[in-house]
Amino acid sequence: MTQAKTVIQAQGLDLTFETNDGPVHALRDVNLAIDKGEFVSFIGPSGCGKTTFLRVMADLEQPTGGHISVNGMTPAQARQRRAYGYVFQAAGLYPWRTIGGNIRLPLEIMGYDRADQDARVARVLELVELDGFERKFPWQLSGGMQQRASIARALAFDADLLLMDEPFGALDEIVRDHLNEQLLKLWDRTGKTIAFVTHSIPEAVYLSTKIVVMSPRPGRITDIIDSPLPRERPLDIRDTPAFLEIAHRVREGLRAGHGDV
């Protein structure tokens, strides 16, 4: 954690979608640096470009201007070297594969040998506290467990960057609290860099070392908040004045960005 190596570097990033109703500015002049080991949340109303930004990092969208590097490479190179794991909003597990088989899927694609696959599956299942569920099928698991399996799948190969697009958005509050707590522990144990898209203020403040507030039309960054909270965060830290103060600042940032509506 001591070396401050930059993982994501974006400068003057622009992305314009051409639609039938004219151009849509999904991202305009986005500048951001994410250091190794950081937990960065992107928060903002829908249409602010937070997911688009994440997809640009993952080489799922192509920027129309500016510059971005991932691990010092272009996003395309980073993707080809499997530099990141991506967790989507839906778990997206294959119903015809067991939980173990689903986690094995990217490992098969990447050509890990069988023994290594087994070891990795066992390790990540333990990491997300799903040990014993390897032979179960997705429909036998609750929504929260499925999402944990999908996180395990993104952790199974050696990518030290984790991109998460509202992974807990479809889950209820209690499950979400639990998963947030687990995710923090996991981040602490693995030392991965995490970029996390959310629209929940408490979630963003609770999880992050850095909160990026974005606003729509055009999608842009309006505030970047470095969290003073300690790395060790029990759930009740959310009642402390420091926590509430950051949450307040995020809310103000969101309101300012929304001033034109």
Binding site: Y84, P106, I109
Partner: protein, 283 residues
């Protein structure tokens, strides 16, 4: 229970229709013999004519019984023998059609040029009446020395590949944007995406198509037996029956064909249920 009621009603209607349709002939006969026909005698006659316009169910049943159980299956008069001839052509054509249909679908999904050019031809091929093209297929193949089972299988294939193409194109395209993006984040090759995502996703579509293809395949095999003056097969039985006015024989061949289709389609249904349950795609 509701099924039994429906079947009973259908059989009742069938018997009633047999009386109506066969009555003129019965009256003719009675007049020539100078007899007056009572209702009971009329009914009895209409249900037991040799060459009725519409044979009664029990006549068809007796004919089927006679030509299946009571004949050796090697006999030319055995319905099992004829059924097997048709079945073998059906299955071969179904196999060809399925393989050809899947290959075409893969081409259409992966190749833009094929996507734009092949589908209209596939659809056009199905607008041609099979009765028009079947004799040509048989004549052409005969000219190059191929006869017997293969030409009929070709006609079966011609009918059965279509539902497979349509179903598989839809099935192979059924993975959503997120699943394809996910494959992309793992830098998966096109082949890996095909075998691990697209093909398994298409299974429910495939089985639905296979059911239609199987029925179409049987129709193709029977049609393929008609223009050749084939001596064997359910189609040949139909043709021979209509030459000699053997309506009972026609109906028993028809019922045999329908039963065959029902068995084949329900076999695929069983296969579908087992496979999809094992794949976790059906509760």
């Amino acid at each position: 229970m509701p099924v039994a009621v429906v079947v009973t009603v259908i059989i009742a209607i069938w018997y009633a229709a047999a009386v109506g349709l066969n009555a003129p002939w019965a009256h003719d006969k009675a007049k020539r013999a100078g007899q007056e026909l009572g209702l009971a005698a009329l009914v009895q006659d209409t249900w037991s004519q040799d060459k009725p316009k519409l044979p009664a169910p029990h006549q068809v049943g007796a004919e089927i019984w006679k030509t299946t159980v009571q004949k050796k299956i090697t006999s030319k008069r055995s319905l099992v023998y004829h059924g097997w001839i048709t079945l073998s052509a059906t299955l071969l054509g179904f196999g060809f059609g399925t393989v050809f249909g899947i290959l075409l679908a893969v081409g259409i999904v992966y190749n833009r040029t094929m996507d734009m050019s092949v589908m209209p031809w596939v659809i056009a091929s199905q607008t041609i009446p099979i009765l028009a093209i079947a004799p040509m297929i048989i004549v052409v193949l005969n000219a190059v020395g191929i006869s017997g089972l293969l030409p009929k299988a070709m006609i079966s294939m011609y009918l059965s590949f279509f539902p497979v193409v349509v179903g598989m194109v839809k099935g192979l395209r059924s993975p959503d944007r997120m699943q394809l993006d996910q494959m992309r984040t793992w830098n998966a090759s096109a082949a890996q995406t095909f075998w691990r995502l697209r093909l398994p996703s298409s299974m429910p579509y495939l089985f639905t198509s296979l059911k239609i293809a199987m029925a179409a395949s049987l129709v193709g095999a029977i049609v393929g037996e008609l223009p050749t003056g084939a001596v064997a097969g359910l189609g040949a039985r139909l043709l021979a029956g209509s030459y000699y006015g053997q309506t009972i024989q026609i109906w028993s061949a028809l019922i045999a064909a329908a039963a065959l289709a029902a068995v084949l389609v329900s076999l695929i249904g069983v296969l579908q249920r087992v496979t999809l349950r094992r794949m976790g795609m059906q509760e």
